[in-house]
């Protein structure tokens, strides 16, 4: 299960901060794979590392793009 490198997490955190949100990553547990979460107020966006459609792990750039797109929906 991949983990974000410090620069990758910084990139995603910077993206999240554009929308007043904070980002953190969650390591894999016994019950689910790792993911990245972006939170603002009572809303959390969660992106699993594994992309079921592509059947591979998402890249940090793909996670960042998803978070950027979702961040735009935050008030």
């Amino acid at each position: 299960m991949p983990q974000l490198t410090a620069p990758e997490l910084t990139t995603i955190s910077t993206t999240a901060s554009k929308y007043g949100a904070t980002a953190d990553q969650v390591a894999a547990t016994n019950f689910k794979g790792g993911c990245v979460r972006v939170r603002k107020g009572n809303v959390t966006f969660e992106v699993d590392w594994f992309d079921p459609t592509l059947n591979r792990d998402r890249t940090a750039a793909e996670v960042d793009a998803l978070m950027d797109n979702l961040g735009k929906t935050l008030k």
């Binding site: 969650v26 016994n30 019950f31 689910k32 794979g33 009572n42 809303v43 959390t44 966006f45 969660e46 992106v47 699993d48 594994f50 992309d51 079921p52 459609t53 998803l66 979702l70 929906t73």
Partner: protein, 235 residues
């Protein structure tokens, strides 16, 4: 009189051409399939499920330990998790749930209920309620929509308590642009992002219990599950 009643009921009958309808009261597991792992179990009737007059047919989801994976789930079909495609008409799922205990920081569990598609982890595609203290740090209901393992989770600010029946309802609008979440007919909130749509983003109907901390028995009871789609266009 009898013929008048018969005529009235005949007029009330809804054709499957206009409406999809599925109902399970858990008198047995004949209609529902189940999936368990570890010490997880399914209980139908008997002393371990809620003996509540006026609630015939109660199914219990049961877990004990955090051993990997300790879980129990019920769903209409355990081999096809792609029975529901949003859009084409409003989807409604409703059913009462009852926690014998809620998560307390010593013994935690995740509980997901509604439209979902995975027995042993968070859902890939769906629209559902989530109770998951281990992840969120509180017991509040999360109102969730998931599409291809990208999720929106809204904190409702409302937490269930133990030993109380709650009637949950989720409504996905005609075009799947909004999901509304109700507890006992009170709207807790709506989600408009990450609602799964399209032929590759199918989901299912299910309730899932996974132990996430501790080794004490935890149970969630389900009274019934009712699913309706009000078709936009006659089929």
């Amino acid at each position: 009189m009898g013929s008048q009643v018969g005529s009235f009921l005949g007029a009330m009958r809804v054709s499957p051409r206009d409406q999809f309808y599925w109902y399970e009261d858990f008198l047995s597991t004949d209609l529902s399939s189940t999936s368990v792992a570890g010490t997880g179990a399914i209980e139908i009737g008997g002393g371990n499920t809620q003996a509540d007059a006026g609630r015939p047919g109660v199914l219990g989801l049961y877990v004990t330990a955090t051993a990997t994976p300790d879980r129990a789930s019920t769903q209409p079909n355990a081999t096809n998790f792609a029975s529901v495609r949003f859009q084409g008409g409003r989807w409604v799922i409703e059913g009462p749930v009852y926690f014998t205990n809620v998560s307390d920081g010593t013994d935690n569990f995740s509980f997901r209920w509604g439209f979902g598609d995975v027995v042993n982890a968070d859902f890939v595609d769906g629209a559902y309620f989530e109770h998951d203290r281990q992840t969120h740090g509180d017991n509040n209901w999360r109102l969730v929509a998931a599409s291809n393992s990208v999720r929106t989770k809204t904190n409702s600010g409302v937490a269930p308590v133990a030993a109380t029946w709650y009637r949950l309802r989720i409504e996905v609008n005609d075009n799947a642009t909004q999901v509304d979440y109700y507890v006992d007919d009170t709207l807790l909130g709506s989600v408009t992002t990450n609602i799964p749509t399209g032929a590759t983003r199918l989901t299912h109907v299910m309730a899932q219990l996974i132990k996430t901390l501790g080794a004490t028995v935890r149970r969630v009871h389900l009274d019934y599950l009712e699913v309706t789609q009000y078709l936009t266009t006659r089929r």
